[in-house]
Symmetry: none
Subunit: 206 residues, 4 copies
C-alpha cells in the first residue's frame, strides 16, 4: 500500500517534470535525459514507469486533461444566480484559471499536433473529441436551463452556441499566447455581453 503510494508519487513526479519540459521544448525537442534530470532521477528509471516517450507524453496529456477538467468542474459547481450570471461567471472562471497557466498553453498545442500526426493520433483524437463533447454538454446544459426558465429565447440552439462558445474560449487563449498585448479576459467579457444580449433578446423579424 505504502509501496504503491510511493510508486504513484514517483510517477507523478516524472509526469510533472515531463510536462514542464514538453511545454518549453515541445515533444520532439525534448530529451528523455532532460526529463530525468528535471525529475532528479536516472534516465532508466523513467522506463520503470512508462514504456516509451510517447507513452509518457500521453500520460502527461491525461494528467493535464484531468487537472484542467477538475478545475473547470469546481468552477461550474460553484455557480449560482441566473443563467446569464452563471455564464458570465463561467467565462471569468475559465479564462482566469487558464491565464494562470498560460505558460502551459504550449502543451495544448503539442497535444493538438500529436492528434494530427503522432503515432498515437487516434488516442489523442478520441480524447479531444470526448473532451470537447463533454465540455460542450456542460455549457449547453447551462444554456438549456436558461431557455427552460424563459431567460433565453426558445429559438436559441443551445448546442451550437455551446460549441462556438467553447471554441471562442480556446481560441482567445490561443490569440493571447501569440500576442502578449492581447487581453483575452476583457475581450471575452465584452463579447459575452453581446452574446448574452443575443440569447435574451427576442429575435427581430426580418
Amino acid at each position: 500500500m505504502e509501496d504503491k503510494a510511493r510508486k504513484q508519487n514517483k510517477r507523478s513526479l516524472i509526469i510533472e517534470a515531463a510536462a514542464r519540459i514538453f511545454a518549453t521544448r515541445g515533444f520532439n525537442s525534448t530529451l528523455m535525459a532532460e526529463i530525468a534530470a528535471q525529475a532528479g532521477i536516472g534516465k532508466g528509471t523513467i522506463y520503470e514507469y512508462f514504456s516509451s516517450k510517447e507513452d509518457l507524453f500521453f500520460s502527461v496529456f491525461e494528467w493535464f486533461v484531468e487537472k484542467t477538467q477538475a478545475e473547470a468542474k469546481v468552477s461550474i459547481s460553484a455557480l449560482g444566480g441566473s443563467a446569464s450570471e452563471r455564464l458570465k461567471a463561467l467565462n471569468d472562471a475559465l479564462l482566469r484559471s487558464w491565464l494562470d497557466m498560460l505558460d502551459m498553453y504550449s502543451l495544448v498545442m503539442e497535444f493538438w499536433s500529436a492528434s494530427a500526426s503522432s503515432k498515437m493520433r487516434q488516442r489523442f483524437k478520441q480524447a479531444f473529441r470526448e473532451g470537447y463533447r463533454d465540455f460542450r454538454q456542460i455549457v449547453s446544459a447551462l444554456l438549456r436551463d436558461g431557455i427552460e426558465t424563459g431567460e433565453f429565447q426558445p429559438e436559441v440552439d443551445a448546442e451550437s452556441v455551446a460549441a462556438a462558445l467553447v471554441g471562442a474560449w480556446d481560441a482567445l487563449l490561443l490569440q493571447a499566447w501569440f500576442d502578449e498585448g492581447f487581453d483575452p479576459l476583457t475581450t471575452s467579457r465584452r463579447f459575452m455581453a453581446v452574446l448574452i444580449n443575443g440569447l435574451v433578446s427576442k429575435p427581430q423579424a426580418i
Copy 2:
C-alpha cells in the same frame, strides 16, 4: 525570365509536395526523402531551393498563410448587403473554404506546435500574431460598419466580438477535425443567428 519562372515553379512544386507530407505525417515524422519522392525530384534538389528542413517547413507555412488569406480576401470583397448579411455570408464562405481543405487542417496544428516549441518559434509566433491581428481587423471593420449605419448597437465592442468570432471559426473547425460527426457549418450558422441578434437588439436593462 523563363528561367526565373521555372525556378519559381519548382519551388512551388516542392512546397506543395511538402505540404501534403507534412500534413499527413507531421513535421518530425516527415522525411526529406519522402518529400523529394512526392515531388518527383532528387533529395539533393530540395536543398537547391531551401536551406534546411526547417526552412522548407516555414516556407510551407508562408505559402499556406498566403493561400488562405487570398481566399479569405476574395470571399470578403464579394460581400454585399447589410452588415448582418455580410457577416453571415462571410461565415459561410470561410467555413466552406476551410471545409474544402479539412485534410490540410492538421498543417495548422503543426504550425501551432512549431510556434510553441520549434527553433523557429519566434518567426511562427510573429506570423500568427500578425495573421490574427489582420483577420480581427477585417472582421471588426465590418462590425464597425454595421454600428455606424445603425444596424448594430453602439454598445457593441467591435474588437472584442471580432476576436471571439475569429476564434470561434478556428475552433469550430478544430472540433470538426476531431469529430467527424460534428457539423461546423450548421453549428456556426445557428450560432451566428444568436450573435447577430445580440448585435442588433437593444441591450435589456438589468
Copy 3:
C-alpha cells in the same frame, strides 16, 4: 576512482584505435564507424567521450604529442658524457624511437595538414609552435652547455643550430617515409659528425 579509471581507459582505447585508422586512411577517409569497429565498441559510444570527429582527431594529436615528448624526455634525461657524446646519443635515441613507429609518421602529416587548413588550424598551429619551441630549447640548452664548458666554439649560435637540427631530424624521417631505401639513422650519424666538427673546430679565418 575505479569509475574514473575505467572511463580513462575507454578514452585511451578509442584514441589509440582512432590513431591507427587516421594513420592509414587520413582524417577525411576515416569513418567514425571504422574507429568504433577497431575499438570494438558501438558508433555512438565514441560520442560519449568526444564531441565530434574533429575533437577526437585533436585528442589523438594531443595523445601523440604527449607520447613522443615523453619518449624524448626519457632519452634526454639518460644522456651522459661530453656535449658531443650527448648530442650523438640524442640523435640516435630520437631517430630510433621514431623509426620504431614510422608507420605512425603519416599521422604527423595529417596533423600538419590539419594545422594548415582544418577548422581547428589555430589549435594545431599553436600546439606545433609550442612543441617546436620546446624542442629547440632542449637542444639549444645542450649546445649552450657545450659552449660554456669550452667544448664548442663560442661563435656558435646555439638557437640557430638547434632549430636546424630539430628540423633536420624531422625532415630525415620525412625522406625515409617517402623512400624505403633511405636510411635516416646512418645518414644522420654521418651528418652529425660534420656538424659536431663544425661545433668544436675553431673557425677558419677567411
Copy 4:
C-alpha cells in the same frame, strides 16, 4: 594550334585558381564550386580539363613542383665562387624564394598529407621520393665538388650532409609557418656557418 594554346591557358587558369583555394582551405574543405568561381568559369568546365577533384589536385602538385624546381635551378645555375660561397648563396636563394610564397606553404602540407592517405598516395609518394632524391643530388654534387677541390674535408659524406641540409631547409620553413616570430633566413645563415666550418675543418682526433 591556337586552339591548343587556348586550352592550355584555361588549364593553367584552373590550376592556379585551384592552388589558391587548396592553399587556404585544404584539399578536403575545398569545393569544386569555389575553384570554378575563383577561376571565373562554370563548375562543369573543370571537368573538361580534369577528370576529378583528385586529378586536379595532382595537377596542382605537378605545377607546383615544376614551378619551384624551375626557380631552384635558376638559383643554382647562377652560383659562382668557392663551394662554401655557393652553398651560402644557395641557402639564401632557396629560403628567399620560399619565403616569398610562404602563404603557399600550406600547399606543401596538403601534398604531404595526400602522400600519406589519399587514394593517389602512391603517385604522390613517388613524386616526393624523386623530388627529394634530385634535390639531394644537386646539393651533394656541390659538396663533392668542394671535397674534390680540397676545400671540404675528404671524410665528409656528401650524401648524408646533403640529405640533412635539404631537410633542414624544409623544416625551417615549416617552423616559420607555425611561428610568425621565427626568422628562418637568419637562423639558416648562422647554422650554415657552423656546418661549413665542419666541412672545411680537419676533424679532431677523439
